[in-house]
C-alpha cells in the first residue's frame, strides 16, 4: 500500500522528515519497502502484514505513529450532524444473509452535482496511483484510504424502486461491473441487488447499471461490513482483487462504519453540493469490546527482559487499550474494536515488545540441551556419499524435483505411479520426478553444449511415487553421470567408458563398507540393450547403470557418449557399514601368480572369477583382472584374459610347492568348466 507523507501529516502533528518516519514505522512492524520522492511529496510503499488491517488507512497509520512517538493525532472534524432514521421515503434495505453481512448502512444524499474533482482531491488520489473519475466516486475512494472503510455510491434513481437487497447470487447470475466486464457469479457470492437484478458484487465492485455519472442527482451511499471469508472467496473466484475486497477480506472496523459514512457525506455535500438525507442502519451493532489480562511475570519470562508495570501500561494505553483492572502482578485491558488481532495474552506481549523495542531486549544464550544424536543416520550417510564422490572428482548438481511429462517420455520412463501437480505454472512443472535421470541428462546436455570435455556429475535427491490416490512416497536416490574424456599431455586422451563409471560406483559402495555388490546384464527402456546392468546389493535390486538408449539420447539432443547410473540411497543406508574396525596388516608376504587364459567370448568375467574363488583354498586372497585382449593373437570368437592371483597364508610364508599346486588346481577347473586354455 502507498502512504503519501503529505497526506499522512493531515492526521498527525509530526515534524520528522520522511526517512525518519519510514524508519520509525519499519521498526514498529509496518515495513516501508521504499520511498519515492515526487514533486513536493514522498510516497512510502508499505507492506501491511495480514494481522493488521487497521493499518490499511491513513488514520490507522497516523494512530500507530502517534502511539509510538507521542505526537498528537488529528481526526477530521465532521461539520454536519448526521441524520438517522430506520425508514426512508421510498428507500428500503433488506439483508437476507445476516452472517455474510452483519451490518449495512445506506445514506441518502439528494441534489448532488456530479462533476470534476477539485485539484487537491485529484493530487491525493494520484499519489495512491488512482485516476480521478468524478467528485462523488473520488470522495468514496478518498475516504477508503483515509478511514479504511470501503464505501460505494449508487445512483439512487437507477436502483429499481429504491430497494436494496443484500442476498446470495443465484448460480450463473450475471453482472457487468464498473470496469465494463460481464461477470458470472456463483451461488455463494454475496451481491447487492434491487428487486430485479444484482447491482454490485458485495465488497468487491459495483455494477455499471447504477454507476454514478455526470447525470446523477441523488445517491445512496453504502457503508457496510461484509464477511471476510466470503469476500475473499468471491474475489479469488473472479480473480478480481480491489482496494475494497482487500480490506473486507482482512476485516474492516465494524465500529467505525458510521463515522466513515458521515465523513463521506460531509465531503460530498461540501464538494458536490446536495443535502444529507436519511440514514438507514440495519443489522447488528458492534459486539462488546474484548478484555485481555496480562501477567507481568509471564511477559518478562517470554521476552527475557524486565519491563516495569508502569511502562507496560503506558505502552498499551498509547495503543488505545483501556486499563480495566490492575493488581500487583497483572492487569487487564479493553481492546479497541479495530484491533482484531489482539485476543490472547501473547498478543499483548507482542504489542509491548514491539513498542518497547526489540533492540532493547538483551542477547542471551540458552542452556545447551543434551542431545547426543545431532545428525540422523540418513544425513551422515549422504554426507559420506558426497565426500567420497567429490573425492573421486564428481561435481554435485541439484536439479528440479518438478519436471514436464515430456521429459519423462524423452527418457523412456513409464508414466505409471506418477505424482502429478494440480496447479503447475508451466508445462515444465507438471509432475514430480519418478527418477533422477531426466534431470541428469538435462544437466549433461547443458554442459556438453558448453564444450565441457571431462564431465563427472552426481545428484542426491528424492524421487516421488504415487502409491495410491491418497498415498505418496519419497525415496532418496543418487544419480551419477560421466561424459567426455580423460586426457593429459603425458598419457594422451582416452574417451571415458562404462567401466570408468562402474569403477566410481564400485569404489563408492566399497568405501561405504558394502561388500556383496553384483552387476548383472539387464534390459531397461531408458538404456541401450548393449550396455546396461542392474546393481544388486546382497541380492537386493539397488540401482541401474549403463549407456542411455539411442532414442533417449536423441530425444535429449545429446550427441556425445554418456554413461549414467542411478542407485537407491535407501539401499546404501540399509547396507552401509561405517563402523571402522582395525585389521592387522599381513605379517607374511603374498605370492603373486598370473593366469592367462583363452576362453569363449561369451564367458563372463564374473563366472570365471566365481569359479576361481570356489576352487581355491583360503590361501587365495585376491583376483585382479590385469589384461583383456581380443584380436589377431587369439582365435575368432575367443578372448584372452589375464588375472593376477594373490596367495597368502596369515601364519607363515607360503612355500613354492603349495602355491603351484593351488594354481594348477584353479587352471584345471577353468579348463574343465569353460574349456579355457592356458595362454603362453
Amino acid at each position: 500500500m502507498r502512504i503519501s507523507y503529505n497526506w499522512l501529516k493531515d492526521y498527525i502533528d509530526i515534524k520528522l522528515p520522511a526517512e525518519k518516519i519510514a524508519e520509525t514505522l519499519t521498526m514498529a512492524g509496518l515495513t516501508v519497502d521504499s520511498i519515492h520522492h515526487i514533486t513536493g511529496d514522498a510516497v512510502f510503499e508499505v507492506e501491511v502484514t495480514a494481522n493488521r488491517p487497521d493499518w490499511l488507512s491513513y488514520i490507522g497509520v497516523a494512530r500507530e505513529l502517534s502511539a509510538i512517538t507521542g505526537a498528537k493525532l488529528k481526526m477530521p472534524i465532521l461539520t454536519k450532524a448526521p441524520g438517522s432514521k430506520a425508514k426512508s421515503a421510498g428507500v428500503a434495505v433488506k439483508i437476507e444473509d445476516k452472517k455474510l453481512c452483519p451490518r449495512y448502512t445506506a445514506r441518502i444524499i439528494r441534489g448532488v452535482k456530479v462533476g470534476e474533482s477539485p485539484a487537491w482531491l485529484k493530487t491525493k488520489l494520484e499519489a495512491m496511483g488512482l485516476r480521478s473519475v468524478n467528485n462523488v466516486v473520488d470522495i468514496t475512494n478518498f475516504c477508503l484510504f483515509e478511514t479504511g472503510e470501503p464505501m460505494h455510491a449508487f445512483d439512487l434513481d437507477k436502483v429499481e424502486s429504491g430497494e436494496i437487497i443484500v442476498r446470495n447470487a443465484s448460480r450463473g447470475e450475471k453482472i457487468t461491473t464498473i470496469d465494463g466486464v460481464e461477470r458470472t457469479l456463483e451461488g455463494s457470492s454475496l451481491v447487492i441487488a434491487d428487486p430485479k437484478k444484482a447491482i454490485a458484487i458485495a465488497g468487491v465492485m459495483g455494477g455499471v447499471s447504477t454507476e454514478v455519472n455526470y447525470s446523477t442527482q441523488n445517491i445512496l451511499l453504502e457503508a457496510a461490513y461484509f464477511d471476510p471469508i466470503s469476500t475473499r472467496r468471491t474475489s479469488r473466484r473472479l480473480a478480481l482483487s480491489t482496494d475494497s475486497s482487500y480490506r473486507f477480506e482482512r476485516k474492516v472496523d465494524i465500529a467505525n462504519i458510521l463515522y466513515a459514512s458521515n465523513r463521506a457525506s460531509n465531503l460530498i455535500t461540501e464538494i458536490a453540493g446536495g443535502s444529507i438525507g436519511e440514514l438507514i442502519d440495519i443489522g447488528a451493532k458492534p459486539a462488546g469490546a474484548k478484555t485481555i489480562s496480562l501477567e507481568y511475570e509471564k511477559l518478562n519470562a517470554i521476552l527475557g527482559v524486565e519491563i516495569a508495570p508502569a511502562k507496560v501500561k503506558k505502552i498499551l494505553a498509547a495503543l488505545g487499550l483501556k486499563l480495566r483492572s490492575s493488581t500487583k502482578g497483572k492487569a487487564s485491558f479493553q481492546v479497541p474494536v479495530f484491533r482484531y488481532d489482539l485476543n490472547n495474552e501473547i498478543d499483548l506481549v507482542e504489542e509491548v515488545a514491539r513498542v518497547y523495542g526489540y533492540d532493547k531486549i538483551p542477547v542471551t544464550i540458552p542452556s545447551v540441551i543434551d542431545q547426543p544424536d545431532r545428525m540422523p543416520t540418513d544425513v551422515i550417510v549422504t554426507k559420506k556419499i558426497r565426500e567420497i564422490l567429490t573425492g573421486l572428482g564428481m561435481d554435485e548438481i541439484i536439479t528440479y524435483s518438478l519436471i514436464g511429462r515430456k521429459m519423462l517420455k524423452a527418457a523412456s520412463i513409464s508414466g505409471e505411479g506418477i505424482a502429478e501437480v494440480a496447479n503447475p505454472l508451466t508445462a515444465e512443472q507438471e509432475i514430480m520426478r519418478p527418477s533422477l535421470i531426466p534431470g541428469l541428462l538435462n544437466a549433461i546436455l547443458w554442459n556438453v553444449n558448453r564444450k565441457t570435455k571431462d564431465l563427472k556429475l552426481f545428484e542426491i535427491g528424492n524421487i516421488y511415487v504415487k502409491e495410491s490416490d491418497s498415498k505418496f512416497e519419497e525415496k532418496k536416490f543418487l544419480s551419477l553421470g560421466i561424459a567426455g574424456e580423460n586426457s593429459s599431455w603425458a598419457a594422451g586422451s582416452r574417451a571415458v567408458g562404462f567401466f570408468d563409471l562402474k569403477g566410481i560406483a564400485e569404489t563408492l559402495l566399497r568405501e561405504m563398507g558394502i561388500r556383496n555388490v553384483s552387476f548383472k546384464y539387464a534390459k531397461d527402456e531408458t538404456f541401450s540393450a548393449s550396455t546396461c546392468a542392474s546393481i544388486e546389493i546382497e541380492g537386493d535390486a539397488a540401482g541401474i547403470i549403463g549407456v542411455p538408449a539411442k532414442k533417449v539420447l536423441s530425444n535429449f539432443d545429446i550427441k556425445e557418449a554418456v554413461y549414467i547410473c542411478e542407485i537407491s540411497v535407501d539401499a546404501i543406508i540399509k547396507y552401509a557399514d561405517m563402523k571402522k574396525r582395525f585389521i592387522e596388516p599381513p605379517k607374511y608376504p603374498s605370492v603373486f601368480r598370473d593366469i592367462s587364459i583363452i576362453a569363449a567370448k561369451n564367458v563372463l568375467n564374473a563366472d570365471l572369477v566365481g569359479l576361481m574363488r570356489a576352487t581355491a583354498s583360503e590361501m587365495l586372497k585376491d583376483i585382479k583382472l590385469i589384461d583383456k585382449y581380443e584380436g589377431k593373437q587369439v582365435p575368432d570368437g575367443k578372448i584372452s584374459l589375464t588375472y593376477r592371483l594373490e596367495y597368502r597364508d596369515p601364519f607363515k610364508t607360503l612355500e613354492e610347492k603349495q602355491v603351484s599346486e593351488a594354481h594348477a588346481g584353479i587352471l584345471r577347473a577353468l579348463e574343465e568348466k569353460f574349456g579355457a586354455r592356458l595362454r603362453y
Binding site: R52, I398, L402
Partner: protein, 345 residues
C-alpha cells in the same frame, strides 16, 4: 712404511680433488689406487715383508688409507652423477597432471555450514517430507483456511483424493517433530520447498529452507536473539550488525524479521564511493531470516501445555544466504548445473 702411506694418502687425495668430475675419470683413479694392481693394493701385498711387530699398525693405517681413498672417490662419483643428471634436467614448468577434484553444490555447502553452526550450539538436524498435507503445512501452524495469511504461501497441490501438497516451507516439520518428541529439544531442519512463483533472477519455484525450533521450560526471546547473533556472526563475519524488526507469522508471536548490515556497503554509501549500493539498494540492511516465539496455539495443536513450555522458531532461505555469501547474481544458476559455476565452490 708409515711415511710411505702418509705420502700416498696426500698424493691420492690431491689427484682425486683435481681430477675431472666424470664417471670415467673416477673409475680410472679407482683402478689406479684400489684396482687389483693398484697402488694401495700393492702396499697391502708388501705387508707380508714387514716384521711381525709392525704388521698390526701398518695394517690399521693401510685400512684407514683404503677407506679415505674410497670415500673421496665415492664423493667424486656422486658429484659426477649430479652433473650428468643435471644435463637431463626436467622441464619443471610443464603443467602438472591433473587430478580434478569434485565440488559440492553451493547449496549443499551452505546447508552444511549453517547446520554446523547450529550443531555446535547444541541443535540437532532433523528432516521431514516434501509432500505434505494441508494439516501440517497450514493448520497446525495456525494458518487457517481462506485467511489472508495464506497469501504469503502460494502452494503447489498434487492431484489426489486428500489435500496433498508440496510443502511451501519447512515449518511443517516443527509440528511433526513436536507430535513425536517431548521438550526440551532444539532442532534445525534443512530441505527443499516449493512455491508457484514465476521464475526470474530472484525467484525460483523450488528452493531450500532451514527451519530452527527450540522448545523448553525457559526459552526466551532474548535467547532467540543470542542464537541468531551467533549464527549471523559466524556466517557473515564478526563485524556484522543485526536488526530485529517486528513482523507477523501466524505460527510465532512475537514475530520478527531479522536484517544484517549490508555486507557490501555496511549502510555507509561513502564506503563504496557514494554510489547507491547494488546489494541493499542503499537501505544498508539485508533481510535474512524470519523468527519469533512459538505461538501458544501451535503448542496446543501438538498437545503441549503452553503454560509450561516456551520456544522459539526461525526460518531462512538457503539460496538467499548463498547469494549473499558468495555474491551470486541469479538464483537460476543454482539449478542450471553449469560446471563452470559449480567448480567455483
Amino acid at each position: 712404511m708409515k711415511n710411505q702411506i702418509k705420502q700416498l694418502e696426500q698424493a691420492a687425495l690431491q689427484e682425486i680433488t683435481s681430477a675431472a668430475v666424470s664417471k670415467d675419470a673416477v673409475e680410472g683413479l679407482r683402478i689406479k689406487y684400489l684396482g687389483r694392481k693398484g697402488v694401495v693394493t700393492e702396499l697391502f701385498k708388501k705387508m707380508s715383508e714387514l716384521p711381525a711387530s709392525e704388521k698390526p699398525e701398518a695394517g690399521q693405517l693401510l685400512n684407514l688409507l683404503k677407506n679415505t681413498v674410497t670415500k673421496a672417490l665415492d664423493e667424486k662419483l656422486n658429484s659426477a652423477a649430479g652433473i650428468e643428471e643435471e644435463k637431463e634436467a626436467l622441464d619443471v614448468t610443464l603443467p602438472g597432471i591433473l587430478s580434478k577434484p569434485g565440488h559440492l553444490h553451493p547449496i549443499t555447502r551452505t546447508i552444511d555450514e549453517i547446520c554446523r553452526i547450529f550443531i555446535s550450539i547444541g541443535f540437532r538436524v532433523v528432516e521431514g517430507p516434501e509432500i505434505e498435507t494441508e494439516h501440517y503445512n497450514f493448520e497446525t501452524l495456525n494458518i487457517p483456511l481462506e485467511h489472508p495469511s495464506r497469501d504469503a504461501f502460494d502452494t503447489f497441490y498434487l492431484k489426489s483424493s486428500g489435500k496433498y501438497l508440496l510443502r511451501s516451507h519447512t515449518s511443517p516439520v516443527q509440528t511433526r517433530f513436536m507430535e513425536k518428541n517431548k521438550p526440551p529439544f532444539s532442532i534445525v531442519v534443512p530441505g527443499k520447498v516449493y512455491r508457484p512463483d514465476a521464475t526470474d533472477a530472484s525467484h525460483s519455484f523450488m528452493f531450500h529452507q532451514i527451519e530452527g525450533l527450540a522448545v523448553g521450560d525457559n526459552i526466551k526471546f532474548s535467547d532467540l536473539k543470542g542464537v541468531l547473533s551467533i549464527f549471523a556472526k559466524t556466517m557473515f563475519g564478526k563485524s556484522i550488525k543485526m536488526r530485529f524488526r517486528p513482523s507477523f507469522f501466524p505460527f510465532t508471536e512475537p514475530s520478527a524479521e531479522i536484517d544484517i548490515s549490508c555486507i557490501i556497503c555496511g549502510g555507509d554509501a561513502q564506503k563504496i564511493g557514494g554510489k547507491r549500493c547494488s546489494l541493499c539498494g542503499g537501505k544498508g540492511w539485508l533481510e535474512i531470516l524470519g523468527a519469533g516465539m512459538v505461538n501458544p496455539k501451535v503448542f496446543e495443536k501438538v498437545g503441549y501445555d503452553p503454560k509450561k513450555v516456551t520456544g522459539f522458531a526461525f526460518g531462512m532461505g538457503v539460496e538467499r544466504i548463498a547469494i549473499l555469501k558468495y555474491g551470486v547474481s541469479d538464483i537460476r544458476m543454482f539449478f542450471e548445473n553449469d560446471v563452470r559455476f559449480l567448480e567455483q565452490f
